[in-house]
């Protein structure tokens, strides 16, 4: 027979409860622990960290300038003059250009994603929170925009108007906010009706506190995941445009520009394609692994 433990000590003595026991673990502690158990995500974070450092500081410290034209055109990787990745058709150091291109691609990825984040969260949360007819109208607009062949509009925008980097940011950001708005709206709607919100309301939590402490943390999760997964999509979109010759202007460059230049000469000089292509692939791989890890960490139902 098993001994049944009384809930309370019959003597009426209550165990002193220390802070350490109650301390518990928040949603975020759990998520962080799960994320750091994911080897692919952790390795990706380290590699991405290095990539970001190289993109930020590499061009400042590297001996060769990305703009400096020389007579040493399309030379193979050599130690001479430190052209360790060779030079391009205008004799510019390929490693220097690669680092600048990486910087531009990452910047486009982050800024355009931020644009889509601001528009998408505001739009989605407003629609989801207000509900009813406003919600209906706002989401109809999203539906209409979804039918646009957006990349075509961006191409049109860039051929018809002056090409500049701000337009690229705005154009790509304007594509990506649609999905963000849908995610945020769906999440807001789903959480609004959950029992724990009702419980919070019943126990007298203020509306402000409900939004900040209960709704927002639950919206942030999927949004954070979507953000990390959007950055690689945006980087791809930018290089897609660059590949078609609609990207950033010379002498600036991006990974997409470098890849399209490399593709032209890949037969005789495959390294000119491989260097930027590998850089791009590794960067995107890292971002995707981190995004995946984040999703698994924040959505424990999956595993």
């Amino acid at each position: 027979m098993t001994e049944i433990k009384p809930l309370l000590d019959p003597t009426g003595r209550v165990e002193p409860v220390t802070q350490a026991i109650i301390g518990g673990r928040s949603l975020w502690d759990d998520a962080r622990a799960r994320l750091f158990r994911n080897k692919a995500a952790v390795v990706s974070m380290w590699i991405l960290g290095v990539i970001i450092l190289v993109a930020v500081f590499g061009p400042m410290v590297w001996v060769n300038d990305y703009k400096a034209i020389s007579d040493a055109r399309t030379i193979a990787p050599t130690l001479e003059n430190w052209h360790i990745l060779g030079t391009d058709i205008q004799g510019r150091d390929l490693l220097a250009r690669l680092m600048i291109g990486l910087r531009i691609s990452l910047t486009v990825g982050i800024v355009a994603t931020a644009v889509s984040l601001v528009i998408g969260v505001t739009w989605g949360a407003t629609a989801g929170y207000l509900g009813g007819r406003v919600d209906n109208f706002m989401m109809r607009i999203v539906d209409v925009l979804y039918a646009l062949p957006f990349i075509f509009f961006v191409i049109l925008l860039l051929t018809v108007f002056e090409r500049n980097i701000v337009l690229i940011f705005a154009a790509i950001g304007a594509i990506e906010w649609l999905t963000m708005a849908r995610i945020v709206r769906g999440q807001t709607l789903a959480i609004k009706g959950k029992e724990f919100i009702e419980a919070a309301r019943a126990s007298g939590v203020s509306r402000r506190a409900i939004i900040l402490r209960h709704i927002l943390p639950n919206v942030i999760g999927p949004v954070a995941v979507y953000v990390t997964l959007t950055i690689p999509v945006v980087i791809l979109a930018e290089s897609f445009l660059s590949f078609l010759g609609l990207g950033v202007n010379e002498p600036l460059t991006s990974l997409g520009v470098l890849i399209s230049e490399g593709a032209k000469t890949m037969e005789e000089k495959p390294w000119m394609l491989l260097a930027p292509a590998l850089t791009m692939a590794v960067t995107l791989l890292c971002l995707n692994f981190i995004g995946d890890g984040l999703r698994d960490a924040l959505d424990p139902k999956e595993r």
Binding site: P149, F153, I155, F161, S239, F243, I259, M266, L284
Partner: protein, 323 residues
Amino acid sequence: MSSLQRALSRVPWAYTFRRLLIAVPTMLAIITMAFLMMRAAPGGPFDGERKLPAATEQAIAAKFGFDKPLHEQYLNYVGGVLQGDFGPSYKTLGKSVNQLIADGLPISLTIGSLAMLLGLGLGTLLGVFAGLRQNTAADFSVMGIAMAGISIPTFVTGPILILVFSLGAGIFAVGGLGQYPNIGMNWHNMTLPVVALALPQIAIISRLMRASIIETMRSNHIRTARSKGLSERQVIVRHALPAAMLPLISYAGPAMARVMTGSVVIEKIFGLPGLGSYFVNGALNRDYTLVMGAIIVYAGLIVILNLVADVLYAVLDPKVKYD
């Protein structure tokens, strides 16, 4: 009741009809946006290096209706589109936009649908293979490769495929379709473009399918099937697969649209005369009627594909109800 009748009875007609109604203002909005963007653009299609004589300019303006007020041009254009007439091409002399679309669209559509089929087939197989071996070495390697497939853009895989198979092994032509326009005769040379376009789809679909089959295998109806004493093979093929493949339907519609737009790059790399190539060249040359025609055709495709996906979903999934 035959299965066809049963399927038809599940089509949400009212919903379909309403979606078609919504498609009308959607398409009008798209046409209007494209039209306004064209007219807002600085410089026209006939601005050349040299200034044309005034008489010639007037003649051109009269021929294409530029001398009329803007709203009249707009109404004329919309009227034409509604009758299926996209007008003359500004740059390809003697050809209408309709002819150019008729030339280019079949190529883009063929490549796109073949790539999508390949993606669905291989992606499903790989996803189920990995999902049934969750957290094993086989699973991790398939998913690792899939991640690479997502992360490596088509404009990298395209040139590399050419490098390896055309220039290296000499199996396929470097570019073009050989004796275009006989696509049917030369589908051999469409292999590389289709594979390049399909790779990211295979990767995405296999990831989707893996997650879906893992979830399905835990559901109640699978437990029921097992408890009836069915073999594991039967449980998977007859009970798990149909349920697990449902999310693919809602993915496939928009994905097909994305594959179609993505084929712009593939067409450029492989030198295929598809609608995507026409569009990019048209945009660079300011061939406005061609660009607008292409945008409208693509938008129409997207609307139709999304609608078909949603309706199909309702037909196949008894749990879905559109009000």
